[in-house]
C-alpha cells in the first residue's frame, strides 16, 4: 500500500487510479501541496499521463456509465474532504456493479459520493440565482463569486445561453480564475480584477433600485431571518448587491 501524490488535475487523479489497478494498491491519494508524509505509508509522486488517464476515463464511461463519469467529475471538483479516496472506492465498486451502482443508495461507498455530488449541484443551482452581474463600461457584464466548490464551468451553459449577445465575465475570486464568454463561446482562464473597466453610468442607479425593491418586498409581519439565512447562507452575502 502506497500514498499516491498528484498535481490536483482530474487527469492526474485518473492517472493515480490507473496505478492503483496496474501497480500498487493506493492507501491514499493526495495532491502534492496537501500531503503530510507519515511514517506508516510510503508515497509515490505520480506524473500526469494523458494516455493512462484516458484509459481510465473510457473504462468508467463504458463499464460503469457516462452518468457516473459525470458524477465522478462533479465530486472531483468539490472540496469534500478526502474526495479522492471516496471516488476511488466508488470507482472500485462501480467496476464490480456496473451502472446499477447509482441505485445502491444505502451503500457506504455510494452514499458519501451521492452526498458530495448533491453539495456541488446544490451550490451550482444556488449560484445561478445568487450571482450578481454589474454592467461595466463598454457593456461588459461582470460577476464575482467565491464558491465552496470549483463550479465555474458548470455555470457556463446557463449563462452563455442567457446572454447570447453580451460578453460576460464570471470571476472566481477564491481560485483566481474566471469564465469568460462572448457570443456563445466560453473559456476558463486565470484572472485578477486588475485593469477591469469601471462600472457604467447607470449601474449605481440600478443597484439602488434593486436594493429598494429588496427592502420593500419583505412582509414585516412575517420577518424570519432564520429562514432567510437557511436558504441564502451568509457566506454568499458578501457579493450580493441587495444586502
Amino acid at each position: 500500500m502506497v500514498d499516491y501524490l498528484y498535481d490536483g488535475s482530474f487527469e492526474g487523479f485518473l492517472t493515480c487510479i490507473y496505478y492503483h489497478y496496474y501497480e500498487e494498491k493506493a492507501a491514499g491519494i493526495f495532491t502534492f501541496d496537501n500531503y503530510q508524509p507519515s511514517i506508516l505509508n510510503t508515497f509515490v509522486e505520480i506524473k500526469t499521463q494523458g494516455d493512462k488517464a484516458a484509459k481510465v476515463y473510457d473504462a468508467i464511461g463504458q463499464k460503469i456509465s457516462p452518468y457516473d463519469l459525470q458524477r465522478i467529475y462533479r465530486v472531483f471538483l468539490s472540496t469534500v474532504i478526502n474526495r479522492e479516496m471516496l471516488l476511488l472506492n466508488y470507482i472500485r465498486l462501480g467496476f464490480k456493479q456496473g451502472s446499477k451502482i447509482r441505485l445502491l443508495h444505502g451503500n457506504p461507498y455510494v452514499s458519501p459520493v451521492e452526498k458530495a455530488e448533491k453539495k456541488v449541484t446544490a451550490e451550482v443551482h444556488r449560484i445561478l440565482g445568487l450571482l450578481r452581474f454589474s454592467v461595466l463600461e463598454g457593456e461588459v457584464l461582470y460577476a464575482v463569486l467565491e464558491p465552496d466548490h470549483d463550479i465555474l464551468e458548470f455555470l457556463a451553459d446557463h449563462f452563455t445561453d442567457r446572454y447570447k449577445n453580451e460578453p460576460f465575465i464570471i470571476h472566481d475570486k477564491r481560485r483566481g480564475k474566471a469564465l469568460v464568454a462572448q457570443g456563445g463561446e466560453w473559456y476558463i482562464t486565470d484572472f485578477t480584477e486588475k485593469n477591469l473597466p469601471h462600472i457604467s453610468q447607470n449601474e449605481k442607479e440600478y443597484r439602488a433600485l434593486w436594493k429598494k425593491y429588496f427592502e420593500t418586498i419583505a412582509i414585516k409581519e412575517r420577518t424570519n431571518p432564520k429562514c432567510q439565512k437557511n436558504f441564502m447562507p451568509v457566506r454568499y452575502w458578501k457579493h450580493l448587491t441587495e444586502i
Partner: protein
C-alpha cells in the same frame, strides 16, 4: 433616469408583496429571443427578510383602483400613495434587472385603473415592448383582471408564460361580502377561456401528478361546450355562471390574435394558469377551501392554487380585527393538504370528516389521515405499491421512488430508509421492513400522536421550498379561526372519468 422611478417602484412593489403566487416553474426555454431563458427547475435569486424567495420582479402595474375590496390595501376608499408605471418604463426596468441576474422575469399584477380593459391594454403594451423590442425571453407571469375582454386576455396570453386570475375567496358568499364588485362569473370566464385555449393548442397540463397518464388535451375537456357544468362541491364556489359563458371561437376566428407572431414564443401561456385565495378573511372552513381548490384543479386543470394568509390591513366590521395574527400555520397546513391533492393521490373528501372540517394545526394532514385510518398500517416497504408508499407519513415522492427502484436490485433495509430521505421519526410507526416493525410500541393513534408531537414543532418535509418558507414564529393557537360556516346545500363530488365536469 426618471427620479420618480424609485418612488413608483417602492409603492408598486409594496402593494404587490402580499401576492404569493410567485414561482417560475413550468416552462423550460432556451434562448430564442435576444436575451434570456427560462429554467424549469425554478431559480431563486434572493430571499427577503421574511424568508420568502425572490425570483421575479413582482409589482403592480398600478395601484390606482376603482374597486373597493374590503381586504385590500389599495381599495378606492383608503388614502394611500398612488402610482402607475409607464409601459416603456417598466419594460426597461425589468430588462435591466434581468441583465444583472437579479430576477428570472416579471410578475405583473395590477389594480383596476379606469377599467379592466384600459389596464390590460397598458399591461399588454408593456409586455409587448419587453418581448419585441428587447427580445426578452425570460419568464412573465401576468394577472388577468376579471372583466377583461377575451381578445385582450388572449393577446396577453401570447406574450406571457403564465396567467392567473385570482379567485380571492373560496366561497361565493365571502366574495359578495368582501369584494362586492367582483362577480364569480367574471372570475371564471377568463379561467375557462385560458383552459380552453390551452386544450386547443394541446398544451394543457394538470397540476402535479393528479392527472397522470390522462390526455387532458382532449376536446371533451373543453369547458362548457354543450352545457357541461361544473359539479359544485358543498359550500365551494365552483359555479362557472350560466348562459353567456365563454365559447371557443372557430379556428378561423380572430386572425390577429391567433397568429403565432413571435419568434421567442409561439404558445399561449405555456406555463399554464394558477390562482390565489386569501385565507382567513372570510369564515370558511379548511374543508371548503380544499374542496374549492380540488374543484379548480379538476375543472380548470390549474397548475397551482396558492393560499395567502390574510394580513389585517384595515379595521372593518366584516373582517378579523387588525390585531389578529395572520393564520400562517393554517396556511402552511393548507399547502400541505394541497400537496397531498396534487402529488399523493388524495382527495379533499379523504382529508376531512364532518366533525372536523378544519385541518389539525399541530399535525400535518397526512399524519392526521394516517391516524384516522390506522387499520391500513403498517405498510410493508418491500411489497407496497407506489401509491401505498406515498400514503406513509414521512415518505415523500422522492424517497418512494428510490424505494421502488432499489427494490428491483436489492431488498430495502431499515437502515437504508434514512439515506433515501425517509423521515423515520414519523414513518417508523407506519411501516414494516421485511416484516419487522420498528415503531417501539403498538399501532395506537394516541400514542403515536404523542410521540410525534414530542419534539414540539414538526418540521414538515412535505412542502416545496417556497411554501415552507412561509411558516414563521407564530405558535399554533395564537390566532383564532372564524366560526365554521354552515353549508346550505349539500352536494357530493361526482366524477366523470376523473373530471368534475
Amino acid at each position: 433616469m426618471d427620479s420618480s422611478l424609485m418612488d413608483k417602484l417602492k409603492i408598486l412593489a409594496d402593494s404587490a408583496k402580499y401576492d404569493v403566487s410567485c414561482s417560475t416553474s413550468g416552462v423550460e426555454r432556451k434562448n430564442v429571443g435576444r436575451m434570456g431563458n427560462a429554467s424549469c427547475a425554478g431559480i431563486c435569486h434572493s430571499w427577503s427578510a421574511d424568508g420568502r424567495c425572490i425570483s421575479l420582479l413582482k409589482v403592480l402595474f398600478t395601484n390606482k383602483c376603482v374597486y373597493d375590496c374590503q381586504y385590500c390595501v389599495n381599495r378606492r376608499s383608503v388614502d394611500v400613495e398612488r402610482a402607475s408605471f409607464e409601459p416603456a418604463e417598466l419594460a426597461e426596468l425589468t430588462m435591466e434587472f434581468y441583465r444583472r441576474n437579479y430576477i428570472e422575469g416579471l410578475f405583473l399584477s395590477s389594480a383596476v385603473e379606469v377599467s379592466p380593459d384600459y389596464t390590460a391594454e397598458r399591461i399588454l403594451h408593456c409586455l409587448s415592448i419587453l418581448r419585441y423590442e428587447y427580445g426578452f425571453a425570460g419568464y412573465i407571469h401576468a394577472k388577468i383582471i376579471p372583466g377583461v375582454s377575451q381578445e385582450l386576455t388572449h393577446a396577453i396570453g401570447m406574450v406571457a408564460d403564465r396567467l392567473s386570475v385570482n379567485i380571492e375567496l373560496p366561497t361565493e358568499e365571502s366574495l359578495q361580502r368582501l369584494a362586492p364588485q367582483k362577480k364569480a362569473r367574471a372570475i371564471f370566464a377568463p379561467m375557462k377561456q385560458i383552459t380552453n385555449t390551452l386544450i386547443e393548442q394541446k398544451s394543457l397540463k394538470g397540476p402535479g401528478t393528479m392527472f397522470k397518464g390522462q390526455n387532458l388535451n382532449n376536446p371533451l375537456n373543453y369547458l362548457n361546450p354543450e352545457g357541461r357544468e361544473l359539479i359544485q362541491p358543498e359550500g365551494a364556489n365552483a359555479d362557472i355562471g350560466d348562459g353567456s359563458l365563454y365559447q371557443m371561437g372557430s379556428p378561423a376566428g380572430n386572425a390577429l390574435i391567433r397568429e403565432a407572431r413571435y419568434k421567442y414564443k409561439e404558445k399561449f401561456a405555456p406555463a399554464g394558469q394558477t390562482t390565489q385565495m386569501i385565507i382567513g378573511a372570510g369564515t370558511e372552513t379548511d374543508s371548503q377551501i380544499v374542496k374549492t381548490s380540488e374543484s379548480l384543479y379538476r375543472s380548470f386543470k390549474m397548475k397551482r392554487v396558492y393560499f395567502s394568509a390574510y394580513i389585517p390591513v384595515t379595521d372593518s366590521p366584516l373582517l378579523p380585527s387588525v390585531f389578529t395574527a395572520p393564520p400562517l400555520i393554517r396556511e402552511h397546513r393548507l399547502y400541505q393538504a394541497d400537496w397531498l391533492l396534487r402529488f399523493y393521490g388524495f382527495t379533499a373528501d379523504e382529508m376531512f370528516t364532518k366533525e372536523e372540517p378544519n385541518l389539525d394545526l399541530d399535525l400535518d394532514p397526512k399524519i392526521t389521515w394516517a391516524l384516522r385510518n390506522i387499520n391500513l398500517f403498517p405498510i410493508e416497504i418491500n411489497k407496497a405499491s407506489m401509491e401505498e408508499l406515498l400514503r406513509i407519513p414521512g415518505v415523500g415522492t422522492v424517497s418512494a421512488l428510490r424505494i421502488v427502484r432499489q427494490r428491483k436490485v436489492a431488498a430495502v433495509k431499515y437502515d437504508d430508509l434514512k439515506k433515501m430521505g425517509v423521515v423515520l421519526k414519523r414513518a417508523k410507526f407506519f411501516l414494516t421492513c421485511s416484516g419487522k416493525y420498528y415503531g417501539e410500541k403498538d399501532l395506537m393513534p394516541e400514542y403515536i400522536k404523542g410521540k410525534i408531537l414530542e419534539p414540539c414543532r414538526i418540521k414538515s418535509r412535505l412542502l416545496p421550498i417556497n411554501d415552507e418558507t412561509q411558516i414563521s414564529m407564530f405558535s399554533p393557537g395564537a390566532f383564532s379561526l372564524g366560526a365554521p360556516q354552515q353549508s346550505k346545500s349539500k352536494r357530493s363530488l361526482e366524477s366523470n372519468g376523473g373530471l368534475l365536469i
